[in-house]
Structure formats: structure tokens, C-alpha cells
């Protein structure tokens, strides 16, 4: 493999360094990465199988972390199970929708991009090994009207949100466990990717108008949050 490195990284007594080399020159360096490791693990006396194993080993060593990093940074496709988001997701009993979960809002640490009406994937507050897929109904400072919760109206604390499944009464959501910390939200479901007949973008909408008001923010701040713009919303901290 060929690399260009600045001349001053190479001691001038080395044979590849030209006699008139100055600090601003770039010289060509031929380098075989992992060559020492390879020659010890797979000496020349072994069969062709060793060459194939070497390729597999190198591919896994670098391929798996790149794949994992891509999934963590960008997103992945997940199967939706259950009926709590009917009719938007899984409307029929015999087939499951597969959605693309976008991790970018969490990767870029811009949690303000999560807006009311988004369908999100979150870590269940009851079981950290389980993910739930629900819709964000209200954000910190909002007063929401509940459906089956311990009190009819709840003011959502700062840094928390209210999530509900679209299928009222058939959903484990904030109506059971109350407001959840925004830090539990891991990704936003942007579109349905399978089956092809159900290809569509998932829109930002609140099916039931149960956000009664916002006790903290001005009208401009509320609009900025609802449309997910990049304008800085200063929250009470």
C-alpha cells in the first residue's frame, strides 16, 4: 500500500529519503499493514487454506466494527411486533411491518430534533432489554390529557416526554408508566421499508389532540419544536 508522508517523519539516513529532502517534501512510503502479524500467524509453508483464512480474518477484524459503527451512527431496519401502533404500523394480523430506525438524532446529540408526533423507538422503563415503538405526544413543559393514567392531566417535567401508541387501550405507554426521560429515546422511525406494498414515509402527526397547553414556552418556541427547526430553543435548566 502506498502512503505519502512528510519528509521529516523519516530519518534522513534511511535509503528511501532523497539527499535533497527538505521538511516540506512529501515522499512515498510503501507499507504493508499487519505484515509482521500475518507472517507469524500464517507462515509460507501452510496450504492455500491459510490465504483464505487470512482474508476472512482481516475482513472480520475490520468489517464487523465498521458495520456496528454504521448501525449505531446512522440506523437500522427493525421488525415491528404487536398492535399498539395500529393502524399506522402492523394494521393486519398476518404480516409485520419493518421500519427504518434513524439513530442520527441521538448520534449528533441533538435531542431537540425529536418533535411532537414523531414515532420513536425507546428503551422500555420497565425492562432495559426491551425496546418499545411509540409516538411522542408531548414534550417537557406540556400539559397532556391522559387516558387511563392515575390523574387526568399531567404536566410533563423538563427533559421528559409523553409517549403513546396509536391504538388506544391496547398499548403499554405513558398512560401506564407516566412521562419518560428523553434520554431513553434511541431512534426515530422514518419509513416503512417492508413489505413493498406498505412503502411509505411515517409522518409527524398527533392522532388525538390531547396536548392541552405548554406552561413554559412562548409560541415561537413551541412552533420551532413542532416543526423541528434548528433554531435554538433555550430550555429552563
Amino acid at each position: 500500500k502506498t502512503y505519502l508522508i512528510p519528509c521529516f517523519y523519516v530519518r534522513c539516513s534511511h535509503e528511501i529519503c532523497r539527499p535533497s529532502c527538505t521538511n516540506r517534501d512529501l515522499i512515498v512510503l510503501e507499507l504493508e499493514v499487519l505484515s509482521k502479524l500475518e507472517s507469524t500467524l500464517f507462515p509460507d509453508s501452510m496450504l492455500n487454506i491459510a490465504t483464505h483464512l487470512k482474508i476472512v480474518f482481516k475482513t472480520l477484524l475490520f468489517g464487523v466494527p465498521v458495520g456496528i459503527t454504521f448501525i449505531d451512527a446512522v440506523g437500522y431496519v427493525a421488525k415491528v411486533q404487536g398492535h399498539s401502533m395500529q393502524p399506522v404500523l402492523n394494521p393486519r394480523h398476518n404480516s409485520s411491518d419493518y421500519v427504518f430506525l434513524n439513530n442520527w438524532p441521538v448520534t449528533s446529540n441533538s435531542f431537540d430534533k425529536i418533535s411532537r408526533g414523531d414515532i420513536v423507538s425507546l428503551i422500555s422503563p420497565k425492562d432495559p432489554q426491551q425496546r418499545l415503538i411509540k409516538r411522542v405526544i408531548g414534550l417537557g413543559g406540556d400539559i397532556v390529557e391522559t387516558h387511563g393514567y392515575e390523574s387526568s392531566y399531567v404536566r410533563i417535567p423538563e427533559g421528559h416526554c409523553w409517549v403513546e401508541g396509536d391504538h388506544r387501550g391496547n398499548s403499554l405507554d405513558s398512560n401506564s408508566f407516566g412521562p419518560i426521560a428523553v434520554g431513553l429515546i434511541k431512534s426515530r422511525a422514518t419509513c416503512i421499508v417492508w413489505p413493498p406494498a406498505r412503502w411509505q414515509f411515517l409522518n409527524r402527526q398527533v392522532p388525538f389532540a390531547n396536548v392541552k397547553g405548554n406552561s413554559l414556552k412562548s409560541v415561537e418556541d413551541r412552533d420551532a419544536e413542532a416543526y423541528g427547526t434548528n433554531s435554538h430553543v433555550s430550555k429552563l435548566s
Binding site: 505519502l4 466494527p65 425507546l122 422500555s124 422503563p125 432495559p128 421528559h160 428523553v182
Partner: protein
């Protein structure tokens, strides 16, 4: 394209390629293995002083198994962009004493956090038990300052 430009292009793409591969390995180590975090603030004194750096392992939090008395770093429940460093006093199912004198049970999937510096710590006594899903890692030992490298003690009270 001259030979020089071709070498330059090959070299740049080699650097980029290696950078992406090693960057991905680094990301996997930090996300699923261990990471160094800097703790600021007085809430964990005297165990952790402000500006100490600790090594935290990220395996327990991915499995949801946090033992009692471990020091954890978790996302703040009032601001998801901030992190807090506290000790786990009680896990799900335990009874804890709350400021008004009564006891409450820590719900399933949650833990109760308190800072070692009781008087000067904003923790579960104010914001309640936190879900394990917010926990980012468990501190195993201190790596900075060099004079204090070593394990983090458990207070006797």
C-alpha cells in the same frame, strides 16, 4: 493524470480507508467496552473529586445488570445532553428512605442514585428513581490525577 497526482490520490484514499477502519474499532471499544469519563462537581466527594477522570465499563449497562453500591454514569433525567455520576444505593425491589421520612420501593427496571456527598448532591432524592436505560457505564477505577490512581472506595456509612 500525472503519476504524482495518482500517487497522491492513492495515498489519500489509503489514509481515509485506514482511518475509517480504525475509527470503527475505536467506536466499538468505547461504546461496548470501556471509556474514560471526566467527573465535575462536588456531588461524589470525597470518593471522587471534581475533575477526576474515571474508567467506566459499558458491558453491565448493556446487559441491564447493575450491582448495588456501584458508581454509575448516566444521562441526566432532566436534560438528556448532560451526564451525571452517582452511586447506586438501591436496585429494583429494594426499599429506600426518602426525605419526607417514608420508605418507597424502587420499581422494576429502575435504580436509586445518591451522591456520596449527601448535602451537596442532586440525585434520586430530588428526581426519583431512574430507569436503567439511562445508565451509560459503571465506574471501575480512577485514572487521573496520577497521585490517586486506583480503585474507588465504598463509604463506610
Amino acid at each position: 493524470m500525472t503519476s504524482w497526482t495518482r500517487t497522491l490520490a492513492t495515498s489519500m484514499s489509503n489514509y481515509l480507508y485506514e482511518g475509517i477502519r480504525w475509527g470503527a474499532i475505536l467506536h466499538c471499544i468505547l461504546e461496548y467496552g470501556a471509556e474514560i469519563a471526566i467527573c465535575t462537581g462536588p456531588s461524589m466527594e470525597p470518593t471522587i473529586q471534581s475533575n477526576d477522570r474515571i474508567l467506566m465499563e459499558r458491558i453491565s449497562s448493556h446487559y441491564g445488570r447493575i450491582p448495588r453500591n456501584s458508581i454509575v454514569v448516566s444521562k441526566s433525567p432532566s436534560n438528556p445532553k448532560n451526564s451525571v455520576c452517582k452511586r447506586v444505593i438501591a436496585i429494583a425491589g429494594d426499599q429506600v428512605l426518602i426525605p419526607d421520612g417514608t420508605t418507597t420501593m424502587v420499581p422494576k427496571g429502575h435504580v436509586w442514585l445518591e451522591g456520596d456527598n449527601f448535602q451537596n448532591s442532586l440525585d434520586s432524592r430530588s428526581y426519583g428513581p431512574i430507569p436503567i436505560g439511562l445508565i451509560q457505564g459503571r465506574a471501575i477505577f480512577r485514572v487521573w490525577p496520577p497521585s490517586a490512581i486506583g480503585t474507588l472506595p465504598i463509604p463506610t456509612n
